[in-house]
């Protein structure tokens, strides 16, 4: 399929519109990130460059104090990679659904796929073990939607940073909008266990640097899910 035809594709449009439900929360986060970049002293030009190219909110926020403090480049890059380690895990999931694409195309698409994209994707395509027709176009639609909302709001935050009242706690709007998607994924016992284990681990490991508590929480949830699957197998065999 030619890229030109994408905007008219049914799956592409579906992917974009599913994602736009998160528009308000995503925009609140983008705005806050834009303001944070300028207020860290990065300057308008570099803030815009960062928003357009780095395109990973949590890694951006984590590198700001390091950039401002004049940390060596490799330290900044290494810490961003640690903050982004969850994407390495996510990419193994994307491989199932995008593995059939030509390499260049799947890498470009992969670069554009943020956290929210995989979560919404999993919601729309519950059978996660196999590739189905239309999945890549659905993912591309979601990617374009998130990119657009995020960049517009982030650039607005950069350009209007002195006008946005951070004391209102706008960032919490992003948190509240994620609650809905988290609840919507709690559709079986395994998901509940994963969520509870992850929440407890994230709080307990909060003191770790570089948001590594998120990685610890993912590892704990995946381990719990492995153990549960094994226990279910054993129970089935003995029944």
């Amino acid at each position: 399929m030619h890229l030109r035809d994408l905007p008219r594709d049914r799956h592409f449009r579906h992917g974009a519109s599913d994602m736009l439900a998160f528009g308000p929360g995503l925009a609140a986060w983008g705005l806050v990130t834009g303001v944070a970049m300028t207020q860290s002293g990065l300057g308008v030009g570099l803030s815009i460059l960062m928003s357009l190219t780095v395109y990973a909110g949590s890694a951006q926020l984590a590198s700001l104090p390091l950039l401002a403090g004049g940390a060596p480049m490799w330290v900044i890059w290494a810490s961003a990679f640690c903050v982004n380690l969850r994407f390495v895990i996510f990419s193994s999931q994307w491989r199932v659904h995008l593995g059939h694409l030509p390499r260049r195309r799947r890498l470009v698409l992969g670069y554009l796929l943020a956290d929210l994209n995989l979560v919404v994707f999993q919601k729309a395509w519950p059978d996660r073990d196999a590739h189905q027709t239309g999945q890549a176009r659905y993912a591309a639609g979601g990617a374009v939607a998130v990119w657009t909302v995020w960049q517009v709001s982030s650039l607005a935050g950069i350009l209007l940073s002195s006008l946005v009242p951070l004391s209102w706690g706008l960032g919490f709007a992003g948190t509240l909008s994620m609650l809905g998607i988290a609840y919507s994924l709690l559709n079986d016992r395994a998901a509940w266990v994963a969520a509870i284990v992850s929440a407890a681990a994230a709080v307990a490991a909060f003191a770790l640097p570089l948001k590594l508590n998120i990685l610890v929480a993912i590892a704990a949830a995946v381990a719990a899910s492995l153990v549960m699957a094994r226990a279910a197998q054993v129970a089935e065999r003995s029944a």
């Binding site: 439900a21 990065l42 300057g43 030009g45 570099l46 460059l49 190219t53 780095v54 395109y55 990973a56 951006q60 590198s63 060596p72 480049m73 890059w77 961003a80 990679f81 380690l85 994407f87 996510f90 990419s91 193994s92 491989r95 995008l98 593995g99 799947r106 890498l107 992969g110 554009l112 796929l113 956290d115 979560v119 996660r128 073990d129 004391s167 209102w168 706690g169 948190t175 509240l176 994620m178 609650l179 809905g180 609840y183 998901a191 994963a194 969520a195 992850s198 929440a199 709080v203 003191a207 508590n213 998120i214 929480a217 993912i218 704990a220 949830a221 995946v222 381990a223 899910s225 699957a229």
Partner: protein
């Protein structure tokens, strides 16, 4: 890099750092998409990894809702708990994204901006 400190103007140093960060994004998001061979993790692990996105979201949300300054919230005068409760109640009534968000903000804004909770 310390070597570059004296050699590059500050903006160029910043720009190189930022482009490096962009490469880090591409590397991490494309990690398992690089290989030309079809990579398959063991089935059990692949299936267990399916909870990773939910776990990541919950891991971001839980501290944002339950913690303040690195410790669990010790007071009920924090606007986030009632706001999260309101959003949860709304979700139980009508699942969705925008409804719970607005319900939560309707509780959060007066308490946070008005009362300073």
């Amino acid at each position: 890099m310390t070597l570059a400190d004296g050699l590059l103007p500050a903006w160029a140093h910043g720009a190189i750092t930022i482009l490096g960060l962009a490469a880090v994004t591409a590397l991490s998001r494309g990690f398992f998409l690089w290989s030309k061979r079809d990579l398959r993790l063991p089935d059990a692990l692949q299936r267990a990894l399916q909870v990773a996105p939910l776990a990541a979201i919950v891991a971001v949300l839980a501290p944002e809702i339950f913690m303040t300054h690195g410790a669990l919230i010790g007071t009920w005068r924090d606007a986030r708990l009632p706001a999260a409760l309101a959003a949860t109640a709304f979700y139980a009534w009508r699942p969705g994204v925008l409804g719970p968000l607005l319900a939560g903000l309707a509780v959060y804004m007066p308490l946070h901006v008005g009362l300073g909770w």
